[in-house]
Amino acid sequence: MLRSIRKELLASLIAIVVLTLALGVAYPLVVTGIGQVVFPHAADGNQVKVNGQLVGSRLLGQSFEKPVLDRNGKARVDAAGNPVTTPDPRYFQSRPSGDKYNPSATAFSNAGPNGADTRDAIRGRADSYLALEQRYDRSLTRAAIPPDAVQTSASGVDPQISPANARIQAHRIAAVRHLPLSRVDRSIDDHTDGRGLGVLGEPGVNVLELNLALDKETSR
């Protein structure tokens, strides 16, 4: 009995060392090698550059809110020391995020379905959404707000918004950027990722790419 356990211990020990080298070092390194050679852009996270400067990834959403300045031109901070921000009307707005769009420390918001705080948060976001968009789209009502616009994403860095959400914001973008609404709508279509193979998942509008395209268009 004791001898056989010793034999098993030795076999296990060698097996774990060998398997760690094979599955834990060789396998990921080979996959990394192939990925970096065959699909370097994807393997490095679909980085987006403007004039050679890294501005993000097409897969990582970012916040399009700008800092609120006080009378002296300094950024205002709240009680906790975080900068106060407001939606930048020139840009399509991303979804609410539970982690302030930080891609290096992702987190769920973990809001409960029956939480009073969840209700208040959604109500507050709906108020802000109406305050921002109703000026440009008079027909917009609370009941017509797309659910993705006022509820946090899972990853906190959702790169997309729903097409319905984008169509509402298009009125504001067209007015602020002095573009015809049809032009903005066409831009939305150009930056909408359809369902995978036509059936899988849901269509979504890539906010970063859409905003970059609009910047390019209006600076011309």
Binding site: K7, E8, L9, A11, S12, I14, A15, I16, V18, T20, L23, G24, Y27, V30, V31, G35, F39, A42, A43, G45, V55, L60, S63, F64, A80, Y101, P103, S104, A105, T106, A107, F108, S109, N110, A111, G112, P113, N114, A116, T118, R119, D120, R142, A144, I145, P147, D148, Q151, S153, A154, S155, G156, D158, P159, Q160, G196, L200, G201, E202, G204
Partner: protein, 577 residues
């Protein structure tokens, strides 16, 4: 429910039903020691490995010897993982320079990955180095899956044996699973995932400035290679904290579909493997059918509940489905489907925030796990747990009609029934005890995030998930205060939650394994009596209904009071708490 949403669901189940006989038949050949195209290439590697570890893979083991090899291997795996994680700072591939997580969190994590649970109190991208992820966690993703499959193969041999005393050889089953099943599929899947936008890099994080001037980091890592085995092995531990919701870990609707396909692939194939190996294909499909019926019901309920929207959202005047904690590219249908399939299998990967599911939408994942992870379940563990329920159903049916219970010609005696009871009741008992202790003590309540019934749901979910080796979470519940969390200076573990959870995972993994191996050992030696006109059939519709009934009565009914107090009360009211 939308047409497009339903198409995805039907498509997934159809593709899996087509794949099950292919992989199921292939695995039957692998475990019968047959030769395939792959053995011609990898055969020398396999034999070389046995020489290096100095075992004779042809030597048959009885159930005790098989269990001994398995336990010793698992124990050393645990120690190796604990050591790697605790000495993280001295290893290479640590571009962010992370130091080790506290010992209590590491205890939980090691127990979690060795038991195929992948419960995560840590957040990957802010806690672990690439080396810990690759050489620590991903290795156990392979090995814990292989151990689970080895057990079910031994059990199948016990049932199919013609009065033998042995169940095969643990080392051969484990090695062949890794070499001929897990590694080839994971390799192909990881390359596909990269092509679709999943990250695979060992470079340090890239700094960038967003359009609004915010300075941030793009965190890279060996994600795709880990992701493939995380899903295939029904492990579920994400590289990133938000798991398969993170676009770097699940970039599109297509990768999401492939993810769900991978995590169900081996669990749907094993019943077919079983049918082939015992020489009763209909029996394999009967078990498959019982599992599939329960899965379809689960998917339907989650989808309907999420499409209806949450109470909080309705009170805020917002229409539409419950989008809280869901990604745009998956929407309601794929998020609901994922929530169901990740909890019927013991995967626990998530593409949405489980905590933010509606009351009823959250009750279903819990019920899925509480069934004992027998609705396809984990790789290996799902089928061997299901076979215990089959034996129980045969026994109860035998009592009802007054016949000696027998399964595939083998008489079931008192000792097997006792062991079956141990195997089926150990996990529910552990859930009730652990969540009872956690909710009744101030130590346990420190982990709770949300108020009211949701806080109870978090606790119940945590111990249900850990005991069933699932690993998904109502993620507000915590055992580790993260280093990068706002306002937190330094990291510390919540020792109570870490130890109770870690202990629960280990007991709930190895007690049923020992029980089921003992049952298999007893059945292996029994002679097969030929089927006569009086033999009760176990491969027809009546038996499928009987089997589902036994699972509902034995496993699920235990938890009805607990489910009522947590998720169901929230699902049935229009109140907020």
């Amino acid at each position: 429910m939308t047409v497009q949403g339903s198409i995805q669901i039907v498509l997934l189940l159809a593709v899996l039903t087509a794949a099950a006989p292919l992989l199921g038949g292939y695995m039957a050949r692998v475990f019968d020691g047959g030769t395939m195209r792959l053995t011609r290439v990898l055969g020398p590697v396999e034999r070389g490995f046995y020489r290096v570890i100095r075992v004779d893979a042809r030597q048959e083991q009885d159930w005790k010897a098989y269990a001994r090899s398995l336990l010793v291997f698992s124990l050393l795996s645990w120690l190796a993982l604990f050591l790697i994680l605790r000495t993280q700072s001295v290893h290479p591939f640590n571009p962010s320079g992370f130091s080790a997580a506290p010992w209590d969190v590491t205890f939980n994590t090691s127990s979690s990955f060795v038991t195929n649970t992948n419960w995560q109190y840590y957040a990957g991208e802010t806690t672990l180095s690439n080396f810990s992820q690759m050489a620590g966690l991903a290795v156990q993703n392979f090995l814990s899956a292989a151990v689970g499959i080895a057990v079910v193969v031994a059990v199948i041999r016990g049932i199919s044996a013609r009065s033998a005393k042995t169940l095969g050889n643990f080392w051969a089953d484990m090695t062949r699973t890794v070499l001929y099943v897990l590694l080839p599929i994971a390799f192909v899947a990881s390359i596909f995932f990269i092509s679709q936008g999943m990250v695979q890099s060992l470079s340090p994080a890239k700094a960038f400035t967003s359009l609004e001037g915010v300075k941030q980091l793009i965190t890279l890592g060996p994600v795709a290679s880990q992701e493939a085995i995380k899903l295939l092995g029904t492990n579920g531990g994400g590289f990133f904290n938000v798991n398969s919701a993170m676009p770097f870990e699940n970039p599109s609707g297509l990768t999401d579909f492939v993810s769900m396909f991978l995590l169900l692939l081996i669990p749907v194939s094993l019943p077919i493997t079983f049918g082939r190996m015992v020489g009763a294909r209909r029996q394999g499909w009967a078990i498959y059918g019982a599992m599939m019926i329960m899965l379809v019901v689960a998917i339907g309920i989650v989808y309907a509940a999420e499409g209806h929207g949450s109470v909080a959202q309705h009170l805020a005047g917002v229409n539409g489905g419950n989008f809280e904690g869901k990604e745009t590219r998956f929407g309601i249908p794929s998020s609901s489907l994922f929530a169901a399939v990740t909890t019927v299998t013991s995967t626990g990967a998530v593409n949405a925030a489980m905590e933010s599911l509606t009351g009823i939408g959250g009750a279903v994942p819990m019920a899925n796990m509480m069934s004992g992870e027998v609705i396809f379940g984990g790789v290996g563990s799902g089928l061997y747990s299901m076979l215990l329920f089959v034996i129980l159903a045969v026994f109860i049916a035998g009592l009802m009609v007054g016949r000696t219970p027998e399964f595939l010609g083998k008489k079931i005696a008192a000792r097997e029934i006792k062991l079956t009871m141990v195997g089926t009741l150990a996990t529910p008992l552990l859930i009730l005890i652990a969540s009872g202790i956690a909710i009744a003590t101030t130590y346990g309540r420190r982990s709770i995030f949300n108020a009211g019934p949701q806080g109870f749901s978090e606790t119940l979910y945590a111990y249900t998930s850990q005991a069933n080796n699932n690993g998904s979470a109502f993620a507000g519940y915590t055992g580790f205060v993260q280093p990068n969390a706002p306002g937190n200076h330094g990291a510390f573990g919540i020792t109570f939650a870490d130890l109770l959870g870690g202990g629960t995972m280990m007991l709930a993994r190895y007690l049923p394994i020992l029980a089921v191996l003992a049952v298999a050992g007893a059945l292996a030696g029994r002679r097969v009596s030929p089927a006569g006109p009086g033999t009760m059939r176990t491969d027809n519709g009546t038996f499928v209904v009987m089997l589902i009934g036994v699972i509902l009565l034995v496993a699920l009914l235990t938890f009805v009071p607990a489910l009522l107090l947590g998720p169901i009360v929230q699902g049935l009211t229009n109140q907020v708490f």
